[in-house]
């Protein structure tokens, strides 16, 4: 056992900030911590160290501490990253009752009015935050969601993303048309697997046909769809390759896959054990092995906008016959601290997840030609990414301070993992 570094975390029971250590045991890394009141805790955070993951650990933590983090959260001078995407909860209602839900959705009925949301969007845009995610709960529970999208656009939002389970999108094409007409940019759709068993286990219902219908409806309206699987051990970790194949087959309507290893906040059935966790290197290995090397670990780089151990991405273009062209540039460890990394990420995400309108021209296939290359990148760009959210067990203050995904909570702006952190 060797100590990699000292860090700060929280006690999962009282959320008090405490000392912690990243400890290497064999090929795995654990976060170990001790609370004077509630005892010792150890959680796996990284399974399988290998040379391929050197870049993920090059990050040098900034000096100084943030003693009030995350309990007094609201972005403060100690936070190290600006807002890339602002998440706005438009409802807490939901048409599912999932055993695991970060937002513990399904309870409460109070919702902000369209006028109130318009003021929120205006405030965001005044501060330069022009990329909003409409989230919940399930945002499509609101019949006036098109008005909300329209309000965001009128306020000046350049990109309006909808986070949805897709059920209503597949069943009500006219509702989707109204969203598209109002200026919706693209859909981030929960998609946990390629068979109904997975959906039944994680969401309580067979939902595959609903997901297919949603993709078809969005495709007709040229609304890009990015698939968002929550990865859970023993449920869908063996379907990572299947999900990628499904996504490629449904491109360019599907713009990519954004994997989210399960985190334990909001509602979950029991305190997580190590075997209940999936870590980023496991996701990367699953991507490579389950696609027979079509996607390779070497095609992916750590997040530059957030802390490098919070996520990764790889950029591709799907060529005719399902062949892949890799676009991901080499990783630059210095880029993660650049002052404009949140703006670069915002542009990147909007560009990759938006499906462009058709130019009606037949496409040529010589991609050494710049015009043909540019046309194909725009029409068939395909992005595979992942984000490892932190819960009360896995949270590192350093990582939290670099978060760029922020939830608008009344007048406050709160990093995602701090907003939803849940004590046991």
């Amino acid at each position: 056992m060797t100590i990699i570094s000292n860090t700060r975390s929280v006690c999962p029971k009282c959320l008090t900030q405490i000392d912690a250590q990243l400890v290497r045991e064999g090929d795995d890394v654990y976060l170990r911590k001790s609370c004077p009141s509630h005892g010792d805790f150890s959680t796996i955070v990284w399974r399988g160290m290998s040379d391929e993951f050197d870049n993920w650990w090059k990050y040098k933590a900034p000096s100084g501490d943030a003693p009030n983090c995350p309990n007094d959260c609201g972005l403060c001078a100690k936070h190290l990253q600006k807002t890339c995407c602002a998440l706005v909860e438009v409802t807490s209602r939901c048409n599912l009752r999932c055993p695991v839900c970060f937002a513990d959705a399904g309870s409460g009925t109070s919702e902000p009015t369209v006028a109130e949301l318009y003021e929120t969007f205006k405030r965001l845009c005044r501060n330069g935050n022009t990329f909003v995610q409409l989230s919940g709960g399930e945002p499509t529970m609101r019949d006036n969601l098109p008005e909300i999208v329209s309000a965001a656009r009128r306020a000046g939002c350049e990109t309006v993303q909808l986070n949805s389970n897709g059920i209503r999108l597949g069943r009500e094409p006219e509702f989707v048309r109204a969203l598209a007409d109002a200026g919706l940019s693209f859909v981030f759709m929960q998609f946990d697997g390629t068979c109904d068993e997975v959906h039944k286990t994680l969401r309580g219902q067979p939902l595959l046909s609903d997901k297919l219908a949603a993709i078809e409806v969005c495709s007709k309206l040229r609304l890009g769809v990015t698939l968002v699987p929550t990865l859970v051990p023993g449920v869908n970790m063996d379907d990572v390759g299947g999900i990628l194949r499904f996504a490629v087959e449904h491109a360019p309507a599907v713009r990519g896959v954004h994997f989210q290893p399960i985190s334990y906040f909001g509602r979950f059935p029991h305190p997580p054990r190590d075997e209940d966790r999936v870590t980023l290197p496991e996701v990367l290995r699953a991507i490579e092995t389950q696609t027979d090397g079509k996607f390779k670990i070497a095609n992916f780089v750590p997040s530059s906008c957030d802390h490098p151990r919070c996520g990764f991405h790889g950029d591709f273009v799907i060529l005719p016959k399902g062949l892949l062209m890799k676009l991901t540039p080499k990783y630059n460890p210095d880029a993660c601290c650049a002052a404009d990394s949140h703006l670069k990420n915002r542009k990147f995400v909007a560009r990759r997840w938006t499906r462009p309108k058709s130019n009606g021209q037949k496409e040529a296939t010589d991609y050494h030609n710049m015009d043909n290359f540019l046309a194909r990148v725009k029409s068939h760009g395909f992005t595979v990414s992942a984000m490892a959210f932190q819960d009360a067990y896995t949270l590192e203050i350093d990582r939290l301070r670099r978060c760029s995904l922020h939830v608008i909570d009344g007048e406050k702006t709160v990093p995602f993992c701090a907003r939803y952190i849940t004590q046991i």
Binding site: S303, P329, A335, H368, N369, M370, D371, L374, V377
Partner: protein
Amino acid sequence: MTALAQWKCARCDVPLELKKTEFEYMERSFSHAVPTCPKCGDVFIPPELAEGKMAEVEEQLEDK
């Protein structure tokens, strides 16, 4: 557009000719017709190309 006729190779003092050229840019290889010296093979990247298509390629390949 930059008129091709106005450019000569500084070294060889001969007019440039439009020639399809392979070049590497942002770790990719492209083929594009650019003004080229028929004698020494040096190429000239016109501003329209640098600020137009090449900038667009750069934007598409720019990382987050």
